[in-house]
């Protein structure tokens, strides 16, 4: 199964829409609830990152019986130092975004904790591609 969702830069009121839809699909597929929770946490954080940091992007979700692969491709400033971005507590979010309770530097670490595989490719001034893989029904 393949799904695509458009993510608009700065549109916080719709952040989480793709995560919510994917959650519904996984429930219908009878994926166990522990796995669904992990996928939802990882995808929500990645979705919010696109809203907060990029100029806009697309989420591509591919689900088969063994795994879900989520690709989030955005155009935007990119991440100059991925290793630093992965550190808990490090954030480049704006003061406005932080006031909303985002930008605590927990997003990427949350994704890493919940994904079976996380791969980030980024080019400064061009954009970022985040790949998240979670194995299904493997608990």
């Amino acid at each position: 199964m393949h799904f695509e969702y458009n993510v608009v830069s700065g549109d916080f009121s719709n952040a989480g829409t793709a995560s919510s839809q994917i959650k519904k699909v996984l429930k219908q597929l009878n994926v166990d609830s522990v796995t669904i929770k992990r996928i939802v946490v990882a995808l929500y954080e990645a979705e919010v990152n696109v809203v907060a940091h990029s100029y806009g992007g697309t989420i591509f979700a591919d689900i088969d019986t063994k795994e879900i692969i989520l690709r989030l491709k955005d155009t935007g400033p990119g991440i100059p130092d991925i290793k630093q971005a992965m550190k808990e507590g490090y954030s480049t979010a704006s003061p406005q975004v932080r006031e909303m309770g985002f930008g605590a530097g927990m997003g990427l670490p949350n994704i890493k904790k919940n994904a079976d595989k996380l791969d980030i490719k980024s080019e400064v001034g061009v954009g970022t591609e985040v790949m998240i893989m979670v194995k299904l029904n493997d608990n």
């Binding site: 916080f12 009121s13 989480g16 919510s20 929770k37 909303m100 605590a104 927990m106 997003g107």
Partner: protein, 111 residues
Amino acid sequence: MKVEEIVKKLDLKVFSGENGLSNEINNGYASDLLSDVMGSAEAGSAWITLQTHKNIMAIASLKELSAIILVKGYKPEEDTANQSNEENIPILGTDKQAFEIAGELYNLLKK
């Protein structure tokens, strides 16, 4: 314990999501950092926060939380309340600050 019992015992306001008043609350989580709640709150919890924007509902829904308790007299924004009604996850309110209401809820759930 059901949300409606907690509303009565802690004298909370009900802003929205009345259809979810029979949800069960098994635990609580107090935090204003959304990623912290996303990463660590348990399903079936009441979430104590001062955040009022719509993203708290996205998190409550994705994490299957039972209710949100806004502290210090904060009220939900209109689109937040609308989504609470759609999702049947009540948004409750108190004039107390987070430390006090968390303590009261903890004592109530511990019994």
